[in-house]
């Protein structure tokens, strides 16, 4: 693009002004408009949240501001982006020359991206990557730039900044990498920071740390922030103003309190109704299904019913896990001797009852998924016993074990990766029926598949379609139908709703609860999302470093958390309520690693019962174990 346009914007005007911006992808004839006529202003030093679900165009908008869409095959078809740099006149970035654009990128406007695991270049050191920006924009020598980089790393509260300069990204955790990314973005004191879902991929306690850092530095440096997110809790905690996007358009814009208190557009209302709010179940002993507002043909419509989930039967457990231990060998010497082990699960015990949902919550590396995989017989446990319906899994014949696979089914996190793209969904749903030889007649199988699709809210004719023809939410419904196909008693749902947009997530959670009621299903619901846990589960087990630190009824654990880690976890969850005081509690530190040298066994902490059925790890033990 050429022909630099300089526009005069008087002082006191917004820092950034996006005017009727449209972005297209694809050829001129068959163009797809990802962003349609979007306008908003960003005031100096303020935070604007751009909220929307997948496909809303929020990320494309964020890239288009610095014209990074040029590199993704996107084309700004109309509109302007007026930016007021610290020196000189306001500039329309849409029509700016490449050289002036480059002098603004990373210097006046900087960006933080979603995936901290992939946003740093794996082959350069941390120090190099931060220094690069400083050398480029401020003309510093390599040595000066590295000194500044060290100061920046200290600013984002990374310990041992000097040593960190020589580290490579793969040696750092996700939270540390995101802090490096923030340090890199803030290197040249930008006036505007664009943060595209910067905490979505992080654990909740790490998310809280990152949000605190962004907020503190913003105040200190007077940086304006555009915060792109789908998480209304984060919006409530961070934003001054909110722009809501839906299908490429801005549907609503208002100060944050107004959006939450009096949403005007039906979509905003639907979105807010779907957001699970931590604390919304306080005082209620059982999980409860509540209606969700969905937009149908542009109009909001309430679907579902209110129903208390009184499905659990505590007479006799369906699954009894006793002191399950699962370890993996990692480090090996030259001669193949094991030096290090991952202590993924250490002496974990819990029961699940018919019709009950037990939530297993914890952050990455806590061992919660390993438990799920061990129960599904994908991993052999190192020790302990598992009883299903009273039978010991360890002493089962291979035929009985196969039969167990039919009784325990699994729903995975990623509905895109867990369906075979080359088979129709009818084939995928029928597979467990065929594998377990439940029905022989082709017609009977087809009838059963259609019945299953109907149960999960899909149409019978969908059976002939392929996975790519469905949305993420629909695919997860297919996965649920497949899990139901063998008439299981227990379903392990491993982060099954985490990858879904909130409005879809609310519907899938309702579906799972409805199916539980109809079929008396038990769920082991593995997740990191405390708000969803509160809504769906009867009981909760909190995991930390391979052990359960607290287990009890959902009401007991959420309303009377006893373990410090449970409290930390609950305090870290952003609450979708801007009127609520922002949590000032400091959550510091990384999640320690479960990898230990051979011979250094972790300490198994003892549990004490604080009230009937509510057990908590004795923390003095935990501290000794960590030391």
């Amino acid at each position: 693009m050429s022909g630099e346009t300089v526009k005069h914007v008087p002082v006191g005007e917004p820092l950034l002004s996006v005017r009727s911006l449209s972005v297209e992808f694809g050829s001129a004839e068959g163009a797809f408009r990802a962003v349609k006529n979007v306008s908003f202003d960003v005031q100096p030093g303020k935070t604007l949240a751009v909220v929307g679900e997948s496909g809303s165009g929020k990320s494309v908008t964020s890239l288009a501001i610095m014209r990074l869409t040029d590199y993704t095959g996107g084309r700004i078809s109309s509109g302007e982006v007026l930016f007021r740099p610290s020196k000189g006149q306001a500039l329309d970035l849409v029509h700016a020359a490449d050289t002036s654009l480059r002098s603004i990128r990373g210097n006046e406007i900087a960006m933080i991206f979603q995936e901290p695991m992939t946003s740093l270049n794996p082959v350069f050191t941390v120090g190099n990557q931060i220094a690069e920006t400083l050398v480029l924009h401020e003309g510093l020598s390599a040595r000066e730039a590295l000194a500044r980089a060290e100061a920046l790393l200290e600013k984002v509260r990374l310990p041992d900044a000097k040593k960190l300069l020589d580290r490579y990204p793969h040696q750092l955790s996700g939270g540390m990498r995101q802090r490096v990314m923030i340090a890199m973005a803030l290197a040249c004191n930008p006036k505007l920071l664009i943060a595209d879902e910067p905490t979505t991929a992080l654990d909740v306690t790490i998310q809280a740390q990152i949000l605190n850092i962004i907020r503190d530095l913003q105040q200190e440096m007077g940086t304006a922030v555009i915060f792109i997110t789908h998480d209304m809790g984060v919006v409530a905690e961070m934003a001054d103003d909110v722009v809501v996007m839906w299908k490429g358009e801005k549907v609503e814009e208002a100060p944050v309190r107004e959006i939450f208190a009096a949403p005007k557009h039906p979509y905003t209302r639907a979105l807010l109704s779907a957001v699970p709010r931590l604390g919304s179940m306080t005082g209620q002993p059982l999980p409860k299904r509540t209606p969700v507002i969905v937009i149908e043909d542009g109009a909001p419509k309430e679907v579902g019913e209110t129903h208390v989930q009184d499905t659990a039967d505590y007479a006799k457990p369906i699954l009894q896990v006793d002191k399950m231990t699962t370890r993996f060998d990692v480090g090996k010497t030259f001669f193949g001797r094991v030096t290090h082990r991952v202590h993924a699960v250490e002496e974990v015990s819990f029961d699940i009852y018919p019709g009950e949902t037990l939530a297993l919550v914890g952050e990455s590396g806590s061992g919660k998924s390993t438990i799920g995989r061990t129960l599904q017989q994908l991993i052999e446990p190192t020790g302990g016993t598992v009883r299903f319906d009273g039978h010991d899994m360890g002493s089962m014949s291979s035929a009985e074990r196969r039969r167990l696979k039919q009784e325990i089914q699994y729903i995975f996190q990623d509905p895109f990766a867990s369906l075979d793209p080359r088979h129709t969904i009818g084939f995928s749903v029928a597979e467990p029926i065929v594998v377990h030889n439940l029905l022989q007649d082709r017609k009977a199988i087809d009838r059963r598949v259609q019945e299953l699709l109907d149960q999960v809210g899909l149409l019978p004719q969908h059976a002939k379609r392929y996975p790519h023809e469905f949305s993420g939410g629909q695919r997860q419904r297919v996965c649920i139908a497949r899990a139901l196909a063998s008439n299981p008693k227990l379903i392990i749902a491993d982060e099954s709703v985490s990858a879904l947009d909130v409005s879809i997530q609310a519907q899938i959670v309702n579906l799972l609860m409805e199916l539980q009621q109809q079929k008396d299903l038990s769920y082991l619901f593995i997740t990191h999302d405390m708000a969803v846990v509160e809504k769906i589960s009867h009981r909760v087990a909190v995991m930390y470093l391979g052990q359960i630190v607290e287990i009890g009824t959902r009401q007991a654990v959420f309303e009377n958390p006893q373990h410090s880690y449970t409290r930390k976890l609950l305090a870290a969850v952003p609450i979708a309520d801007p009127a609520r005081e922002r949590a000032k509690r400091l959550i510091e530190g990384e999640i320690p690693s479960a990898v230990r040298p051979v011979g250094q066994e972790p300490l198994i902490h003892r549990m004490r019962e604080v009230e009937p059925g509510h057990w908590v790890a004795i923390e003095a033990d935990l501290l000794r174990g960590a030391a």
């Binding site: 480059r102 990128r105 900087a110």
Partner: protein, 306 residues
């Protein structure tokens, strides 16, 4: 890293041992050198036996093989059945010619394919990309001997610019090296393109662009090094194929290298020369792949710290 290299070295020794065993065994199935030496028919069985005895071929295979192995350790590959020249002398003359040819063509292909591949990747789907892809497909479709003969016809016979065969001066290099380079470039350019496309879609590339870096810096500093791993792997594998391809190209251009040496040795059932030249070539291929493994560590810190 040190343990890793040690492991690879041990593997390499086994590979070379296996190659020597297979080669010595296989060539003994191919025919009798005594007959080849004398020309069949005009000698008695007794003469043939005398010749075999003189060449040491009357001993059991195991003894002959162990003798050959023992020789390798002191750099003595025995003497050629044809004229009695020490094999090590023949190899020391032929090896530089082949290596020179191999490395020149490999280098040429890298110098050509990296910028072309990057250019195609950046312009994905547009005409420069299509052009590069079509040309590389054409290059891939030529058998190397045909390409070599066409070059001789055009540059030597029609235009009279370049010597048609032999190794006489720098200009003798152009055609054999170019023949090999064209074929290598055709595959490498596609590899660079695919690998670059993969890298360019990574988030850290967008991050580099958001820092305000010039396109050139983004491509050649941030992207290329990340794309280099598959390229280096492939070049390691290619080296084996390159040696195979060189035999044919050396024949066409009458290039006095290892290919010609080995080819003639097969025709004459010249066991020591064949064993010696194949062992040396195998050694080189194994060595190159060892260097490739070490190169990984230099390119990618994630491998270094494993």
């Amino acid at each position: 890293m040190a343990g890793f290299i040690l492991k690879r070295l041990l593997q390499a020794i086994f590979v070379v041992l296996a190659v020597t065993l297979i080669v010595s065994f296989a060539i003994r199935l191919s025919g009798d050198p005594a007959i080849m030496l004398t020309g069949a028919g005009s000698v008695t069985e007794q003469d043939l036996q005398n010749i075999r005895k003189a060449l040491g071929l009357d001993r059991p295979f195991a003894v002959q093989y162990l003798g050959f192995l023992k020789g390798i350790f002191v750099g003595d590959f025995g003497r050629s059945f044809m004229g009695g020249t020490p094999v090590s002398l023949l190899i020391s003359k032929a090896l530089p010619a082949t290596l020179l040819l191999a490395f020149t063509s490999l280098l040429t292909s890298i110098v050509l394919s990296v910028p072309l591949g990057i250019y195609a990747a950046v312009n994905r789907g547009r005409w420069p990309d299509q052009l590069v892809r079509v040309i590389s497909l054409v290059g891939l479709s030529f058998p190397n001997f045909w390409l070599a003969i066409m070059m001789v016809l055009f540059f030597s016979i029609t235009l009279g610019l370049l010597p048609p065969s032999g190794m006489e001066g720098p200009e003798s290099f152009i055609m054999p090296a170019l023949t090999m380079a064209i074929i290598l470039t055709a595959t490498n350019v596609r590899l660079v393109r695919t690998s670059m496309l993969e890298t360019l879609s990574q988030q850290y590339i967008m991050v580099a662009r958001s820092k305000g870096l010039k396109d050139r810096v983004v491509l050649y500093k941030h992207a290329l090094r990340n794309s280099a791993i598959p390229l280096v792997t492939y070049i390691g594998l290619q080296f084996g194929g390159l040696i195979g391809g060189i035999v044919i190209v050396e024949r066409v251009f009458n290039w006095p290298g290892m290919g010609t040496l080995a080819f003639d040795a097969i025709s004459a059932r010249d066991y020591p020369v064949l064993q010696g030249s194949i062992t040396v070539l195998a050694l080189f291929i194994v060595l190159i792949n060892l260097l490739v493994d070490i190169a990984y560590g230099l390119i990618d810190p994630r491998i270094r710290t494993e």
